[in-house]
Every structure is written in C-alpha cells, then in structure tokens.
Subunit: 419 residues, 2 copies
C-alpha cells in the first residue's frame, strides 16, 4: 500500500491556505458559486448516476443491506432535491462578517464582535451521497474550507459530486481546495486526519453511534456530535390527552429511524387508565410494538414486558418503551438518568409543571406540547442543518450556519493606551 | 504510592451530581455565597498567610526563583484584592437562564434559546493562588461546578482558599462538591482527569505555554486555551505618529510580561525615518532592547540585528523585534505568518487601510489606534476574565462569564406535530 501521509499533508496545506481566501469571499461570490453548482448537478445528472452505478454494483457484490443500498442510490429525483438544497443554502443570509454586538467603553474604545469562519472543517460520514452536497454547501456558505471523507461504499458518487463543486470554484477563479475530497478509501487516512489539529479546527462526524464514538475517541481536534437521540415524551397529570395522543403518535411513528423520534414514553399514573388504552390502539394499528412496565401492560394488553435495557435504548424503529410514573419529579429523574440530552418533551396544560420541566431537563431541546420531531435546523428556521449537537461546547442542538462560525473582537480607538 | 483513581472518581461523581444543583441555583443564592466567601477571606487572613508560609518555606528550600516566590506570596493587600474580586463577581449579572433569542415559527411554535451552564469545568494552573479564587468565583457564578488543580508549589495556599469556599457552600446548604480541589500533588492525577470526558465538559489550562501544550496534547476533553501572545503593532504610512509612539510604548513597556504586550513592531517604510528615531529614544530610555532589521538599525543606532527567530517570538520582557515593511499587505502577511492570532493592532488615520487590516487579520482581537494591552475581559467590560482563547471553537478572545455557558432550545407549542 502506498503511503498516504504526503498526499494528505498536501491536501491539508492547500485547504488551510484556501481557508484565508474562503474567509474573505463576498456574499455575491458565494451565492454565484452555489447557484452554478446547483445548475451543474442537474446538467451532469447522467454522469452522476453512472458514477453512482459503480458504487451500487460494488454494494450488491458485497451484499449490502437493501436499506443501505437505498440510502446510497442516486435518482433523478434525489439529484433534483440536492440541487434544490444547494439553491436554498445559496439564498440564506451570509453568516460571516455580521456584527453580533457592539458597545463603547468609558475610555471611548468601540468594541465590536464580528462573526468569522472557523477555518478548516473535516466531515466524516457514511453512505448517503447527499451529505456530501449538504456539507460542502454549508461549509462554503459559512466561509470555511471543508475536507470531506465519506463512506467507502459511496466513493465514486462522492468524488463525482465534489468534482462538480471544484469545477464551479475553478470557473469562478477560486482555489478548488476550498472543498477537498479524501481521495482514498484507506481507513488510515481518517486516523491521520484526526491528529491534524494544526490544520483542522473542527470535526463533524455524521452517521451511526459506532462511527461517532470512534471519531471522538481518536480525534485530537474538537468534535461536535451527538451519539444518539433517546428522546422522551412525558404525558403529565394535566395533559390535554388529545394533544398527548397526537404528539406521542407523531413522535414515534412519523419517522421512527431518526434521532429526534421518541424512544420512551412516560405517563403520569393519574392519566394512565384513560390515556394508555387509546394510545395502545393507535400505535398497534400503526404496527408499533410496545414494551411496558406492569401498569402499562394492565392498560395495553398487547404490550410486552419491558426489560431494563429497553429504557434508555435508541430503537430507531417502531418499538416504544413505556413507563408509568407517580409524578413529574420521577419523570424528570428518569429522563436525567436514561436520556441522551437530545430532545425531551412534556405534554401538560399546567404552566407550573411546564416551567419545572423546562428548568430541570437539561437537554439540547426541551419541548412543551410539541412533538420531539421538531428538533431540527429546518424546523427551527435556520434554513439548514449541518448536524445536531448534544455537547455543550461551541454549539448545542440543531446547528445551522451560525454554528459554523466563530467571532473576533474589533477594537477601535483614537490612540488609547492603558494606564 | 497510593492509588489515586478511586479518590478522583469519587470527586468526579460528586462534582457531576453537584452540577445539576449548581445549574438550578438562584441568582440571590449565588450572590450570597460569594459575598460570604469575600468576608471569610478577610476574616481568615491570618490562617491563609500561615498556610501560604508552608508553601513559601518549601519554595525557598527548593530554590524557586524570586519571581516565582513573589507570585506565590499572599499578603494582606493581596487577600484584600481577592476579596474585592469575589465581591465584584458576586455583583455581575447572572449569565444563566437568559433568553438570548426568541422567535416564533409559522406553525405557531415559540422557540427560545436560553443560556445554561456547561457542567463540570476543570482548571489546571500554576503558582499564583489568586487564580484559585478567581476561577472558583467565576465557575460558581456561571452555575458550573469546578475542579481546581493548582501548582504543587501553592498546594497549602490553594487548599486553604478552597476550604473557605466549601465552608460557605455548606453553610448555605449547598454541596461542597460544587467547588472541588484535587487533594494531591501527584502528577498522575492530571493525566487521569484529562481522560474523564464522561464527567468533565471543559478544561481551561492557565499558565505557561509548556503547561498548556501538555494539557492540550493529553486531554480527551475540549480545552480552551491560548498558547502565547505574539502581538504585533503596525504603524501605517498614514499613522498619527504621536499616537503611534504612545501606543507602541504602552504596548511594549507598560507590562511586558503578559500575553497582550507587543512583541513585534512593524513600521511602514514611509514613516520609518521619522518614527523610528523617536521610538528608539523612548524605548531605550525605558531600558528596552530593540532587535531590528537593516532599516531599523539605520534609524535606531542602538538596535541590535534581529535574528530570524526574533520574529514570532514571545519575549515577555523588555525586548522588541522591529521590522520595516514596504506596505500594508506585507505587514498583514507578516502577522499571518508569525503571529499567534491573539491581538494585533494597526495605527492609521486611513480608514481604508484600517478596514483592510480589520478584515484580513484574523486574530481574536484586532485593534485600530489602540494599545494591544486592552485585549482583556475587564477592559472589554465583561467584569471578569477566566482566560483568553485563541481557539475558534466555543469562545474566542477574552472570556468572561458568557464563555462559561452553553444554551438550550425551549420549544413551546400547542399540540403541534410534524407532517
């Protein structure tokens, strides 16, 4: 095997150099490049599908699951969606160079806090090729350079997608190193890159928990991540049960395979006799398995007995753990113990209970009378989402363009010196 | 040697548990505890000085430098200053529970971004015992718990200071684990703590570059830091030379041993003949050594020839590297190449030059017509400073209480579900 270090070092150096230029790009330039990328995606649809076919054929030979093959597949519709996404990012307000605060000191100094890009961002992700396009667009829009390392199963698709960005950059007269692609499927490349804290400012892993844990364990560079979303809905004593039914159903069933879907439902004992039978019917009709404690089983005869490991587990499918709790405090303690600090909801008409829940549940998103499924950059109106963070450092919750920036202080005086 | 792991694990568990309680503390409670700490510092002055004497006697036996012994020494005046500092932190606005943004979505959801503490913060620092008091106050005020690991040379002093905090906490009915002290000078304790990313959210090292590099290299936990401050002042072609003289003198001489002091002066060639002789006289009269390039030496006869390593070097004493540059762009490139992205200044009356400098110099603080010495949390009006960050992740530049917080999103609805 060829040594990969020198090639990667060259890529890192180019990416760092391009980061200065990327930070200086004007808003119209960025918009123009992204729009030309969107057009090129549509124009080169055929070539993209041909490159994707190489990945698909290998995937079939290697016996990848139908779900993985589906995620990997590029279709006309999916390429159109990508192009649409890039145009949407192009139209977002530029997050760089914004004066987020400005104030004057008694000595006359004027201090401003101005947003700046982070620098070089490394994205490590799995099979879906649209992640390539999303991350490249968001990093570029936020004035960062990006190094993309996708899953080996999508190598040809990702390389072709990045080539479209690079061509657009070159055509506009900007360094193509603003968007770099790790041109090898060698796993050692990741180990190498994760040690390059002199070149890379931030790592964002996107994928399953195993990938994210591996990245976090190895990285010398700050990592923004969420391992999993074990989201709870608590139906309070004073819940509007019709709302609770809709919310619980939506949070579990609308899209069970995502991180903001509900995994555990907590029900106040006072409303359990009325709420659980209705919920059971509705969920069972949707093909959802219910794993409950004793009381749950009393009110939902079709429920199976929950094992201890079911609480705190991220099923990512139509399985729901249910527990009946004696009071709000017990519900909060359960969430603190078993939750993943991603998104947790209370359904209640009681303002005091809502206030206590909002205050004590320290999750990146806390919902009152709304589905956990709203925890999402688009739903929050960010116009984009690069990921969701359950960390508390730098960015938390759904991260849009703002999460990809830092700031600098600009201090303007008239000759002031310190005394 | 005794195994330290179990004791540290116990401390970490207690600190994490206390973090929940710390996050819920009311503003009046925090104020009250800090004020009682301030009083206790004054009341227990004698005991503090006695404990400090143990450290001093050991320091003398071990032959520590007079400068280090000075930094280590507690005096009546210094204890009064500490108490004053704690009172000042007590009076600052509470940074927790602030709604930093709130907006409504088309579907009626109300989204608020609310500040929350980070959790458990580890501070690793060197000899000055006042760092103990500053960091404990700021972490407590921001609703975090803190684990303090000071230099072994200040062990008795630090332990006595932390005991004052813990007594005040107990007296107020709060867990003393809100402010923890690493009760061993064993260096293995630091190695152990830096791997506890399941317990600790943030590490702030305060001290010399060697300490900070060691912490950053070993830590599995995010570290906020600056390695060094290689601050530049550029005297532009259109500088007001009187202001430039004052600023350069102040930035170098007022307190040469700190990270925001100037280390390199860049002078536009057009003003060098007029500016440098005056500067040379003023700096030489203050006992400052000048290391310059050829042109500098022509205009400052007492200057010695700069060696390549002098540019980009953090002298931290009355030594200044000087270089004459042909234009603004060269000055900016010099700063980009040799600077540490801490604080860099331009002196100019030319608004266009200032705008280019502000835009292109990507340092945590960029000064226009002001001394680099202003790069400081107090000078910026934060009322406090836990450190200065030259990183771009989480916090940058001088960090006050706001830098010790994160946020959560609270989403309030009326039964909304996703479609």
């Amino acid at each position: 095997m060829k040594k990969i270090g020198p090639d990667l070092k060259k890529m890192l150096t180019a990416s760092r150099e391009a980061a200065s230029a990327a930070a200086q790009l004007s808003s119209p330039s960025k918009k123009k490049v992204l729009r030309s990328v969107a057009s090129a995606l549509l124009k080169e649809k055929k070539r993209l599908i041909a490159e994707n076919a190489k990945d698909l054929s290998r995937a079939r030979t290697e016996g990848l699951s139908p779900a993985m093959i589906d995620r990997l597949t590029l279709t006309d519709k999916r390429i159109q969606d990508m192009a649409h996404g890039v145009r949407a990012v192009a139209s977002l307000p530029d997050p760089v160079g914004r004066v987020s605060k400005t104030w004057r000191r008694p000595n006359g100094l004027k201090i401003s806090r101005i947003t700046v890009p982070l620098g070089v961002i490394l994205i490590i992700y799995e099979s879906r090729p649209n992640v390539t396009v999303e991350c490249a667009s968001l990093c570029f829009k936020s004035g960062n350079t990006v190094i993309l390392r996708g899953g080996s199963e999508a190598f040809h698709s990702n390389r072709a997608l990045v080539a479209i960005f690079q061509k657009a950059l070159k055509h506009a007269g900007f360094p193509s190193a603003m968007i770099s692609f790790v041109n090898t499927t060698d796993r050692k490349a990741v180990d190498f890159l994760l040690r390059q804290d002199a070149f890379i400012q931030l790592v964002i892993p996107r994928g399953g928990e195993a990938l994210i844990r591996k990245v976090a364990a190895m990285s010398k560079i700050p990592v923004i991540k969420h391992y999993k979303g074990v989201c709870h809905v608590f139906v309070d004593r004073k819940a509007d049960l019709k709302k609770a039914l809709n919310i619980a159903y939506n949070a579990k069933v609308q899209r069970p395979g995502v991180c903001n879907a509900m995994e555990t439902l907590l029900v106040h004992q006072r409303v359990a006799p009325k709420f659980l039978p209705a919920l059971g019917r509705k969920l069972e009709a949707a093909g959802c398995e219910i794993r409950g404690d004793k009381t749950t089983k009393r009110w939902i005869p079709g429920a199976v007995a929950a094992k201890p490991g079911d609480y705190g587990y991220e099923f990512l499918e139509k399985i729901l753990a249910v527990k009946v709790v004696p009071d709000l405090e017990t519900a909060i303690r359960h969430i603190q113990t078993y939750g993943s600090a991603h998104t947790d909801a209370i359904v209640t008409q009681d303002k005091k209970a809502a206030a206590i829940f909002k205050q004590k549940v320290d999750s990146s998103s806390v919902m009152v009378n709304a589905s956990t499924r709203f925890s999402d950059g688009f739903q929050y109106g960010f116009g984009a989402e690069i990921g969701i963070s359950t960390d508390k450092i730098h960015a938390r919750g759904p991260m849009g363009l703002e999460g990809l920036t830092s700031y600098k202080y600009v201090v303007e005086g008239n000759g002031q010196v310190r005394t």
